[in-house]
Amino acid sequence: MDGVKETLRVRAVQGLSVTALLLAWEGAARAGWVDPLFVPAPSAVLGAFGRIGRAALAGLGDTLLKTAIAYVLAVVIGVGGGLLLGAVGPLRRAVNPFVIALYGMPKILVLPWIMLSLGFGATPAVVYATIHGAFPILVLVTGAVRDVDRNLVTVARAFGARRGQLYWKVVLPAIVPTVLAGMRLGIVFCLLGVLVVEMFAGVRGMGYVLSSLANGFRAPELFAATALVSAASIVIVLSLDVLNDRLSQWRGEIR
C-alpha cells in the first residue's frame, strides 16, 4: 500500500515540476523576460515541430542508419577484441597501456586527421563512431573475460571440457552481463560519434540539422529538433535496458 502511495506521490512531483516549468517558461517568454531569439516559448517549439518535421526526421534517419552500421562494427570489434585480449594473457598485459592511453584520449582529437584521410560523407562518420563505440566495449569485455570465476573454469576442466567447450559453455555465458552493459554503453557512444562528425564536418544528418538551425538562429526549430533526437536516444537506450533485463533472468538483481 505504501509503495503505491509513494509511486503516486513521485508521479505527482514529476508531473507538477514539468508542468510548472513549462508554464513558467511560457509565461516568461510571453512577458518578454527572455529574448525569443534565444529562448523560444514552448508553444513556439510545438509549432516548429510541424515546420521542420520532415527535414528533422530525414536527418534522424540518416544519423540512425550510420549509427546502426557503426554499432554493429563496434560490437564485433569490441567483443572479438575483448575475447582475444582477455584470453591471451601476455598479449593483454603487453597491449594494456596502449589501450588505456587510447581509451582515455578524447577521440575527437583524431577526427581532423580522419577527415583528412577519408574525406567527407558517411564513411568518416561511421569510422569515427565505430572507434568511439568499440573502445568501451573492448575494455569491458577484456575485463570480464579476464575475471571469469576461476572456480567455474576449474569445474569445467575437471569434467573434461576441451578448449572450445570451455569458451562456448563457460566463458561466453559468463560474460553476457558485461557484454550487454557494454552494448548499452556502446550505442550512446556510437550515436555521439556520428553526431560529432556531422556537426564538425557538415555531413548530412541530425548533427548537421542541429548545427545549421543553430547557425541560422532558428531557436524554436532547434529546440524541437533537439527534443526529437533526445527522445529517440532515450527510447533506444530504454529498449536495450528492457532487453538486458529479459536476458538476465538468472541474475535476478535489480540494476
Binding site: V10, Q14, P112, L116, L192, V196, G207, A214, S230
Partner: protein, 250 residues
C-alpha cells in the same frame, strides 16, 4: 615473462613509428606526417614560432576547464545530495536524470552555441554539462553505499544530523565521491575541447581546427600532443588526489 611483455610493447611501438615514417615518405606526406617531421613541428610550436599566441589559447582553455569544473562540482554535489537525502525528490528526479544521461551530450551543444555564442561561455556550459552527471551519480552512489548500520551506531553514540554526516556519511562515501570527481574532471575537459573543436574563435581546439583547415598536418599533430599533455596532466593531478583520498579512507 616480463621480458616477453616488454618485448611485445617495444615491438608495437617500433612497428607503429616505423610504419608511420615509411608511410610519410612513400605515401601522401600531407596525411602521414612522419615522426621525423612531427618532432620538429612540436619544437616549432613550443618555441612559439608556428603559433605565437599559443600561451593565450592554452590559458583560455585552462580557464574554461576550471570554471566549468567548478560549476560542475557545485551543481553536482548540490543535486547529488538533494536527490540522495530526500527520498521523494530522489525517486522523482532520479529517473529523469538517468533518462537525460542516455542522451549523447553533444545533442545539447548547438542549443548552447545559440544561447551563449561562440565564445568561452558555450564551452564552459558544455564542459559543465558533461562533468555534472558523473559527479551527481557518484554522490548518489556514495550515499547509497553508506551502511545504515553505521548510522545506527553513530546515533547510539549520540551523533546525529550534521555531526553524523560529517563523521560517518562523508568519510564512508569519500572514495566513491572522489572517483566521481575524477571522472567529472575528465569529462569536463573533453567537453571543453569538443566544444572548442566544433566551433570557437580561440582556445586549443580552435588552433587545431585552424591547422587542420590549412592542411598544416605537422602543426596539427604538435597541437594535439600539447593538448594531450594538458589532458593527461589534469587527470594525473586528479589521480594523485584520488590516491590521497584512498589512503584516508583506509
Amino acid at each position: 615473462m616480463n621480458k616477453q611483455i616488454l618485448l611485445i610493447r617495444a615491438a608495437i611501438l617500433v612497428g607503429l613509428l616505423g610504419a608511420w615514417e615509411i608511410a610519410g615518405r612513400l605515401a601522401n606526406p600531407l596525411l602521414y606526417v612522419p615522426p621525423s617531421a612531427a618532432v620538429p613541428a612540436l619544437g616549432r610550436l613550443l618555441a612559439l614560432r608556428s603559433y605565437p599566441d599559443l600561451a593565450q589559447h592554452l590559458l583560455l582553455t585552462l580557464r574554461e576547464i576550471v570554471v566549468a569544473y567548478g560549476l560542475a562540482i557545485a551543481a553536482g554535489l548540490g543535486c547529488g545530495f538533494a536527490l540522495g537525502f530526500n527520498r521523494l525528490v530522489g525517486r522523482a528526479y532520479g529517473p529523469i536524470l538517468a533518462a537525460l544521461y542516455a542522451v549523447p551530450a553533444v545533442v545539447w551543444y548547438p542549443s548552447l552555441m545559440l544561447f551563449f555564442g561562440l565564445d568561452a561561455a558555450s564551452k564552459i556550459a558544455f564542459g559543465f554539462l558533461l562533468g555534472f552527471f558523473p559527479i551527481t551519480l557518484a554522490v548518489l552512489a556514495g550515499i547509497r553505499q553508506v551502511s545504515p548500520q553505521m548510522l545506527v551506531v553513530a546515533r547510539a553514540f549520540g551523533a546525529d544530523g550534521l555531526m553524523a554526516f560529517r563523521k560517518v556519511t562523508l568519510p564512508a562515501m569519500l572514495f566513491t565521491l572522489v572517483g566521481g570527481l575524477r571522472t567529472g574532471l575528465a569529462l569536463t575537459v573533453i567537453g571543453v575541447i569538443v566544444g572548442e573543436i566544433l566551433g570557437s574563435k580561440s582556445g586549443m581546439g580552435s588552433l587545431i581546427n585552424h591547422a587542420y583547415g590549412l592542411f598544416r598536418t605537422a602543426d596539427y599533430i604538435a597541437l594535439v600532443v600539447v593538448t594531450l599533455v594538458l589532458i593527461v596532466g589534469s587527470d594525473a593531478l586528479a589521480a594523485v588526489v584520488e590516491h590521497r583520498a584512498q589512503r584516508w579512507t583506509e
